[in-house]
Amino acid sequence: MIAVNTRSRALPLVAGAVAGGLVLAVPLAANSRQAPTGAVWFVVALALALLTGVAKTTTV
């Protein structure tokens, strides 16, 4: 029962994440000619690092 509830909560997140990833892919692809340190990649990594830091401090 708990697993079913977790999945039902996770599904919209997964769908949103895939849609977000599709939107993000175009500028990232345009930015991927050399190393993954181009401007768009940098912003994505920076956002991921910020979110991870906030989540880590508030929860664990």
Binding site: A3, T6, R9, A10, L13, V14, G16, A17, V18, G20, G21, L22, L24, A25, V26, L28, A29, A30, N31, S32, R33, A35, P36, T37, W41, F42, V44, A45, L46, A47, L48, A49, L50, L51, T52, G53, V54, A55, K56, T57, T58, T59, V60
Partner: protein, 210 residues
């Protein structure tokens, strides 16, 4: 985290001591994170230089994006409960003895330096390892330092409102720490969704890039 480094929170009994403690914690936290990013970026650069010197090439174009994308996908699935993946750390927690021995300022510095490195405590989010991987495969020490520095800054700056909140809710700390803001499963799900978006974007970028 707020609960486990309550030492910084407890200093709110004196505003000046609290402010100094949290500032020292923040400086150490950001500094350690910057150094970690720099080290990862330098390691990535050295790996690229070594591969170039040996004449080694990636088996296919844009291997870096595939690597980051697949790692992000694997950790997103793991965080959503599909399968377990290792979350390597050096220690499981910061020692309370630091607080007893060097309180408040020395302990704040030590906690900041330790927590800024990330892998000195439990890491429940795969996103941390994906960020490390990005720093490594990018091979750009400066960019890596900025990205890891952002991780350290986020960890440090959250301490200001969080510890102040703990002070304001000191009469009912347990209820406050039970609020959705501190819900680990909720945070893990949201971070997994962000990670999944990064994975989809990275893999597609690897395909689309010319």
């Amino acid at each position: 985290m707020i609960g486990t480094i309550g030492s910084l929170v407890q200093e709110t009994s004196s505003r000046l001591r609290w402010l100094l403690s949290v500032c020292l914690y923040s400086v150490a936290c950001v500094g350690a994170a910057l150094l970690l990013g720099l080290a990862l970026g330098l390691a990535g650069r050295a790996q690229r230089a070594t591969a170039a010197a040996l004449g080694l090439r990636a088996p296919f174009a844009h291997a870096e994006f595939w690597l980051v994308g697949l790692l992000a996908l694997a950790y997103a699935a793991s965080d959503l409960g599909a399968f377990p993946l290792p979350h390597p750390t050096l220690r499981r927690q910061v020692p309370i003895t630091w607080w007893r021995r060097w309180r408040p300022y020395g302990a704040a510095l030590m906690y900041g330096a330790s927590l800024g490195l990330g892998f000195m405590t439990i890491i429940p989010f795969g996103a941390f390892y994906v960020v490390c991987a990005w720093c490594l495969v990018g091979g750009d020490p400066l960019a890596a330092a900025w990205v890891m520095g952002a991780y350290g800054a986020a960890r440090a700056l959250v301490m200001f409102p969080a510890s102040w909140g703990a002070y304001r809710h000191r009469g009912h700390t347990v209820e406050w720490l039970s609020s959705p803001l501190f819900d680990l499963d909720r945070a893990r799900r949201w971070l997994a969704a962000v990670l999944l978006a990064v994975a989809v974007a990275a893999l597609l970028a690897g395909v689309l890039a010319r």
